[in-house]
Each structure stands twice: as structure tokens, then as C-alpha cells.
Symmetry: C2
Subunit: 117 residues, 2 copies
């Protein structure tokens, strides 16, 4: 991060999310969580060939990036997609680099018109 122009805090949040999603295991955990809507750590572990501790570490990264939400429920932890975070990410990407893509005007138009907030 030795850059001349510093990234804005929104860009930092975005960079953190992108970095979290850049790992195929974490990307797949997101897909799995989206399918199941909600599930406990152990179900996620069983969907992979990785050790429980490894998956727990990946879940921490996703949590800290604001992409998932976990709450302790009895002896287990129940995870689900952080819809607000994912929505924010999707809007940021949709708005991103509008000047380089042919159909970015209508996308921006859509966002101003229909996106909440």
C-alpha cells in the first residue's frame, strides 16, 4: 500500500471484500451459504476437504470483510450471507469504472433509479 494517492475508505472496504472473494475456497463457501440460506460451520466443513480449523479461519476472513454474518446458537455458530454487505459490493462494482464500459450508463441510471439508499 505504498501508493501515492491513498485509497478512500470505501475503496479499502471494497479491496478487503475483493481480496476475501479472490480465494476459491472462500468464493465457494459464499455460493454454498447462498444456496443453504443459513447453516452451521460443520456443514460448511463437510462441503470441503479441508480441516475444520482451516474453514474456521476462512469464515473469519469472510466475516471481517463484512460478507457473512455468524451468530452463536447453542453449541454451534450459525452463518448466513451478510445481505447488506453483498448488496453494497454489487452496487460498488456496478458503478465501478463507468467510463470504460459501453453499457455502464444504463447501469448507473438503473442504480440511481431503483437501488435503495
Amino acid at each position: 500500500m505504498n501508493t501515492k494517492k491513498q485509497l478512500q475508505s470505501a475503496d479499502l472496504r471494497l479491496a478487503k471484500m475483493l481480496k476475501a472473494l479472490g480465494n476459491p475456497v472462500r468464493f465457494q463457501i459464499m455460493q454454498f451459504l447462498a444456496e443453504r440460506q443459513t447453516c452451521i460451520t460443520n456443514e460448511i466443513v463437510q462441503n470441503t476437504l479441508l480441516a475444520q480449523s482451516t474453514v474456521s479461519q476462512h469464515l473469519k476472513v469472510l466475516r471481517e470483510a463484512g460478507l457473512i454474518h455468524g451468530e452463536i446458537e447453542g453449541p454451534a455458530t450459525c452463518y448466513c450471507i451478510n445481505a447488506e454487505g453483498v448488496q453494497w459490493l454489487k452496487e460498488q462494482i456496478a458503478r465501478w469504472l463507468p467510463e470504460c464500459c459501453s453499457n455502464s450508463q444504463p447501469l448507473d441510471f438503473y442504480l440511481e433509479r431503483y437501488a435503495k439508499k
Copy 2:
């Protein structure tokens, strides 16, 4: 990548792009390139505090992820955003995890209606 269900090739392409963008230096290079439309390596180097070789390495990652496009022009290399690649990424993200986000239906609707291809 020890996952039970393997990622599809589109997902792999997406994961590669997200990983490339997950680095703040590379993210910023994309922003810079989008502003300038087109520029040579040295202009990008001068926008950072990094060594020329380091920037060249980052450009290689972005190139291999299909996010930028570089062509040799005399003694220099002229870089620009790979509009097709960025557009593809934006569409993938817009379509991603539709079941978890409230306003994903209108976004998908937009994409089917206006997005080329």
C-alpha cells in the same frame, strides 16, 4: 483448492479477476488506467512509490486476469482497460447470489434487457 465440488471455469475466471483486484495496488492501477484511458508503464510507475519491476509484475497479473490489455508501441508498452473483461466481471457480479439480495431481480432484468450478448 481442495474443495469437493469443483468450481466451474467461469467461476475460475471470476476468482482470478477478484484475486487480481483484491490487491490495493492493482485496484488503484485499474482506477488510474480508467482515468487516463490509455498510458504507458512508466506513467503508471510514476503514479506509485513502487519500483518499475514491481509495477511490471502487477501489470502482468492484471493482464493474465483479462482486466487490462497491453500492446508494444515502439520502445514502450501501451496499456488500457480490457473493456470486455471488465464488462464481463460486472455482469457476473450483478448476477451473483441473486437469492440473497433484495433488489437483484431488477438488476437481472436490466441485464437481460440491455446488456449486449
